[in-house]
Amino acid sequence: MIRVENLHKHFGGFHAVDGATLEIAKGSITGLIGPNGAGKTTLFNVIAGRLPPTSGRVLMEGEDITGLPPHDLFHKGVLRTFQIAHEFGSMTCRENLMMVPAGQSGERLWNAWFNRARVAEEEARLRAKADEVLEFLTISHLADERAANISGGQKKLLELGRTMMVDARIVFLDEVGAGVNRTLLNTIADAIVRLNRERGYTFCVIEHDMDFIGRLCDPVIVMAEGKVLAQGPADAIMQNEAVIEAYLGRGLKNKAAAHG
C-alpha cells in the first residue's frame, strides 16, 4: 500500500529520520513503535505531506506521493490524526465532523445561492452520518458541544471520527490511545478493528501501550534513532533482543536477564 524508500528528514544537523525504508501492507493494521525521539511522528509528518523530506521517496501503490500537500493526499484517501488532538474549537463536535468531506456541492457559491435544495439534502445526509459516527464512538451527547470544551480523550475520539466521515484508504494514527482511559481505549480498539474489517481501511498506528499494539497490530515496525530497527510479526518483535535493548536500555536488559 505504502512504501517508504530510504527516507531522510534532517532538521539542521539533527537527523530525525535517517534512511528509513519500510512497507505498510494493504489491509493491515501496522504498528509503529520505538522510544521517544525515534522519529516516528516525523515519519508520519513526511508521509502525510506536512513536512517535505530531505531525500527519499514515498510510494502509494506504485504512485509517487512524496511531498504532496496534505489536502491532495486527503483526496487520495490518506488521512492522519495528531498526537495532541486537533479540533476546530469554535465549532460543535457535529460541525467538526461535517467539515471533513471536501468537495461538497455547497462549496460552490453558485449552488449555495441557487441550488439550495441540493445543498440542504447533502447537509442532511452529512448530519445523519456525523450523528452515526458520534453514536459509534459513544459521544452522541457531545454533538452540540463546542469542540474546544471537550476532554482530551474525547478529542481523540473526535479525531478518529473524522477519518470515518470519508472513505479513507489508509489512516495514520499518532498515539491514538495517549491520555485515554481503559474503557475508551477499548472503544477505540474496537472501532479500528471494525473499520479495518468492514471497510477495508489500512492503519498505521504509533503507540506506546504494548498491550494495545500486541492485541491489534500485525506486523509491527520498530524505529530507533531515525532508522528502522526491525519489522515483522508482533510476537517475534516482542522477543527481539535489539528491540528490548532500544526500549529498555542495556542495563535493564541485563537486569531482566539476571532475574529471568
Binding site: 506536512r50 496534505p70 489536502h71 486527503f74 488521512l79 492522519r80 465549532m91 471536501a102 468537495g103
Partner: protein
Amino acid sequence: MDIINALVVFANFVFVPGLAYGAQLALGALGVTLVYGILRFSNFAHGDTMAFGTMAAILVTRGLQAMGISFGPLPTALIALPFAIAATAALVLATDRGIYRFYRKVRAAPVILVIVSMGVMFVMNALTRFIIGVDEINFADGGRFIIAAREFKELTGLAEGLAIRTTQVITVVTAAVAVGLLFWFLGNTRTGKSMRAYSDNEDLALLSGINPERVVAVTWIIVAALATTAGVLYGLDKSFKAFTYFQLLLPIFAAAIVGGLGSPLGAIAGGFLIAFSEVTVTYAWKRVLGYLLPADLAPEGLVQLMSTDYKFAVSFAILVIVLLFRPTGLFRGKSV
C-alpha cells in the same frame, strides 16, 4: 432646560456622523480582521487597498458621468462600486500571487509578512497617487440631503436643525447589507465554513481536504470587496485624498484590535466604539450643555475635550488601554 433641542443637536453633530463613520470603520476593520484570522498577519496595506478601490470607483464614476449615466438621487459611485471591487480584487489577487504566496510557502513568521505588507502599502499608495494625483476629490453627486437642517426646523418648529445627508444613510444601509452578506457567507456556506475552519486550525483544515489556496483567494476577494466598499463610503461621506486613507489605518486597526483580532463581530463593535469615542471627545459640547443646564450655568467655553486635530490620539489611547488590560479584545480574538 430644553431636552428636545439638546437631543437634536446631539443627533446632528454626534450620533448621525458617528454612526456613519462607525460603519465605515467597521467595514475597514472587518477586512483587517479577516486577513488576520485567515492569513495570520496584520495587513498594513489595507488602508491603501481602500484608497485604490476608491480611486477605481472614481474613475468608473467619471466614465459613467461622461456617458450621461446617473443613479437619480443616489451617487453614481454606487453603480461604479461593483467594477471597482473587481479591479481591486484583481489587484490584491495579483499581489498575493506575486508576493504573499512566496512567504506562505516558506512558512515565514507573521512579523515578516507584516513588513512585507508595509512594502505593498507603499507601492499601492504610490500607484494610487500616480494614477489619480494627491488632490482632494469630491465625487458625491445626486441628492445631497435627505433632510436639510432648514426643512427640519420648518417641519418641527424647533430652534435647532437636524441634517441627514444622503451619503450618511447610504453608508449605514450599505454597511448593514455588506455585514449581513458576510455573516451569512461565513455561517451558512461551505466555503465560509472552510474559511472558519482554516482560521481555527490550519493543519487540521488541510488534513480535512480543504484547499488552502482556494480559501486564501476567496478571502482576498472578500477583503477587496469590503475595503473598496468602506473606501467609497468614506470618500462619499467626506472626500477622497490618497493620504487620508493611509491615516485611516490607525483607527481601523484600533477598531479591529479593540474588538478582538480575528473576530468579525468584534470588528464591527470596535468600529463603532472607536468612531463614537473620536466624535464625542472632539465635539464641542457647548450648545448641548447650553440647552440642558440652567441659563446661569451655561458654559462659556467650547467644552471640547480635545481639538479635532488630535482625533487620531483617541484611537491610539483606546488601543493602548485595550492592549494593557484585555489584549485579546472585547470579543476574545486571537491575542496579538
